[in-house]
């Protein structure tokens, strides 16, 4: 399948994933240095889901994600500086510092919010898709959620409405095996936390290797085309892994060492780098690329740290439109 993807496309995906990883590594570093307040939820290890999924979308398509959503925002084109400044609570942030790490948003890129209450984004995404249907467009909405989200009511209400109204939305589960600190199999009664629910809504449910950007692109692509054609929603479950803890300084000691080792050996960026090398890209070229990214992020972080915090005079802005 990867044979069908052009080398240029693979290069673009690889770069996008590198950038996400660098972004997240910087956030972790800043958090560890006590420069980020509150909490952060990183997507290191889950880059392929974001990049593969974003690649199938067009302008006008909408994406909603969670507190663990930096990768989705970057994959759809959020300015990394605006994201980083937001996480640092600066007025240059994509939300003027009001949102923080859990709420990166850029509607100009189709990013209709990152939500911090588990499951909340799902009915809202369904509403976006309903709106696309009412307005007679062929826009599609993608909405991301974790494996641990599948027990919550909002997930089921949203999927149910979308299935009943045949709405153009694709529900994409990033199954990283953990519901916060709990192994997912201890908190859901099915093998595939999300895909196994699809039959209860008479919609397609697919499982895909979420660390294979090419496969993600293909499977999400099919679901998006189905939605765009007016055939209704699907659930895609991408099996993946977060390399680090759930949030903040979580050391993730609850994970068996062999499990971690196995998944580390299946790094999604390494995988696409391998494909590129098979196609003749040189290691030194890849190293140069990585060095460029590091350099760009040095500058982004520096600028963001130097940016001003919002002023207290603006406290009430945007509470109401009027």
């Amino acid at each position: 399948m990867s044979a069908e993807v052009s080398t240029n496309r693979l290069r673009a995906w690889h770069l996008a994933m590198l950038e996400i990883r660098e972004f997240e590594s910087r956030v972790m570093d800043l958090f560890t240095r006590n420069l980020v307040r509150g909490t952060t939820h990183l997507a290191i290890g889950q880059e392929a889901v974001a990049v593969g999924s974003a690649g199938v979308l067009r302008d006008g398509d909408k994406t909603l994600c969670t507190y663990r959503g930096h990768h989705h925002c970057l994959a759809r084109g959020m300015d990394a500086y605006a994201g980083m400044a937001e996480i640092l609570g600066r007025s240059d942030g994509c939300c003027g510092g009001r949102g923080g790490s859990m709420h990166l948003t850029d509607t100009s890129k189709g990013l209709y919010g990152a939500y911090a209450i588990v499951g909340a984004q799902i009915p809202i995404a369904v509403g976006c898709a309903w709106s696309s249907q009412v307005r007679g467009t062929d826009e599609v909405t993608t909405v991301f959620f974790g494996d641990g989200t599948t027990p919550i009511g909002a997930f089921h209400e949203g999927v149910g409405l979308a299935a009943t109204w045949k709405l153009p939305v694709v529900f994409i589960c990033e199954n990283n095996l953990y519901s916060e600190y709990s192994p997912i199999h201890t908190v859901v009664p099915v093998i595939n936390a999300a895909a196994d629910r699809a039959s209860g809504y008479a919609i397609p449910g697919m499982v895909v290797d979420g660390n294979d950007v090419v496969l993600v692109h293909e499977v999400v692509g099919a679901a998006v085309e189905r939605a765009r054609a007016g055939e209704g929603p699907s659930i895609v479950e991408a099996k993946t892994y977060r390399h680090g803890g759930h949030s903040r300084a979580d050391p993730a000691t609850y994970r068996p060492a062999e499990e971690v080792a196995e998944w580390m050996s299946r790094d999604p960026i390494d995988a696409v780098a391998k494909l590129l090398i098979e196609r003749g890209v040189t290691t030194s070229e890849l190293e140069r690329l990585q060095a460029d990214v590091v350099e760009r992020y040095d500058e982004i972080v520096e600028r963001a740290l130097a940016a001003p915090e919002p002023s207290v005079e603006e406290l009430f802005d945007n509470t109401y439109a009027s």
């Binding site: 909408k62 994509c94 939300c95 003027g96 009001r98 949102g99 709420h103 948003t105 850029d106 509607t107 209709y112 919010g113 939500y115 209450i117 909340a120 799902i122 009915p123 809202i124 995404a125 369904v126 509403g127 976006c128 898709a129 309903w130 709106s131 696309s132 009412v134 307005r135 909405t141 009511g153 909002a154 209400e157 949203g158 149910g160 409405l161 009943t164 109204w165 802005d317 945007n318 509470t319 109401y320 439109a321 009027s322």
Partner: protein, 323 residues
């Protein structure tokens, strides 16, 4: 002018908004084909068709989410939650998502939508279908809160609500559905944040809302016959809150009685009282008396339900206690 009851006014308000603006859509449980559980939306489906008017499954979180998602992307939804009690099921969507998203995203996500709920006691529907919950909305920054007491206000406040770029929760009081009144034709609008002087008076200011407005009026009639002159204000909206009118009235009468249906603790009247106690304490010649719902779940049996919410006799007694 057309005479219509409160129930019909709900329908009229929705229809006028939908005629004015193609972006207005309407959804809820059995609001379309059946015309609503209270028959307050009969004919909307027929006039505006099944794309703009949709019956939903019983899934209040989905209804609220659908409304928010649609509002964020160019529509102006009106969502019905059949009883205000059911806001408890979808309160995350209302209070954590809809109310906060504009602020949290520096204005990027906007939810110009209206949530209509059937509110209040008095009909024997029991504890889970009879609450007055305007205070739950009022305590949530980001929401506008409307509670009309008359058919004309139902229509006029709906026009303002639908055009407003902020999310608005409209509490329609079930016990008022048969109240009739002349309603202006055309583009009748009632602005938010303007209390209505229901009755001018000089001895005591009585502030009320929704079904408590007629209760206050009945009390004022009785008190009038005893030589006590009440000024009655109907707040109409709790956010924005028209404290200017309340304070002006209090500075005239020097006495304040608040009549609210919700159970007393943290009711909207507490907020009104505390603002007066902060800004006009020295204008007062007597305690601020709150005549509020009793702090109990609404009981089913007729005498208990009647005793659980304010009635004219309690308002009369409260006013007389100040004389």
């Amino acid at each position: 002018m057309t005479v219509m009851n409160y129930r019909k006014a709900i329908c009229e308000g929705i229809a006028r908004a939908m005629r004015r603006d193609d972006c207005v859509v309407f959804l809820g449980e059995d609001v379309a084909a059946a015309g609503g559980a209270f028959k307050s939306t009969v004919g909307i489906l027929e006039e505006f068709g099944p794309v703009r008017v949709r019956d939903t499954p019983i899934a209040e979180q989905a209804i609220i989410g659908a409304a928010m998602g649609a509002a964020m992307t160019g529509l102006r939804p009106i969502a019905e939650i059949m009883f205000s009690d059911f806001l408890a099921i979808c309160w995350d969507g209302v209070a954590n998502e809809i109310a906060k998203s504009r602020y949290m995203t520096a204005g990027q996500l906007q939810s110009p939508l209206v949530i209509r709920v059937h509110n209040g006691a008095g009909l024997g529907f029991g504890a889970q279908h009879s609450q007055s919950l305007e205070n739950m909305a009022m305590m949530t920054p980001g929401l506008k809160v409307v509670a009309p007491s008359t058919p004309a206000d139902v229509v006029g406040l709906m026009a303002t609500a639908v055009d407003d770029d902020d999310p608005v929760v409209v509490f329609e009081h079930k016990a008022l559905f048969d109240v009739k009144q002349d309603v202006p034709d055309g583009d009748h609008r009632v602005p938010f944040g303007q209390a209505r002087q229901v009755r001018a008076g000089s001895d005591v200011s009585v502030v009320a809302l929704a079904a408590m407005v007629p209760v206050a009026e009945a009390a004022a009639a009785e008190l009038g016959s005893r030589g006590i002159s009440c000024e009655i204000l109907d707040l109409r909206t709790l956010y924005p809150l028209d404290m200017d009118t309340v304070l002006a009235s209090v500075s005239k009468t020097s006495l304040l009685v608040i009549v609210e249906e919700n159970p007393r603790p943290c009711g909207w009247g507490a907020e009104v009282s505390s603002i007066v106690a902060e800004r006009a304490l020295f204008e007062l010649d007597g305690p601020i008396v709150r005549v509020a719902g009793e702090p109990v779940p609404i009981p089913f049996a007729a005498p208990l339900e009647a005793a659980a919410i304010p009635d004219p006799a309690r308002v009369v007694a409260a006013v007389e206690s100040l004389m």
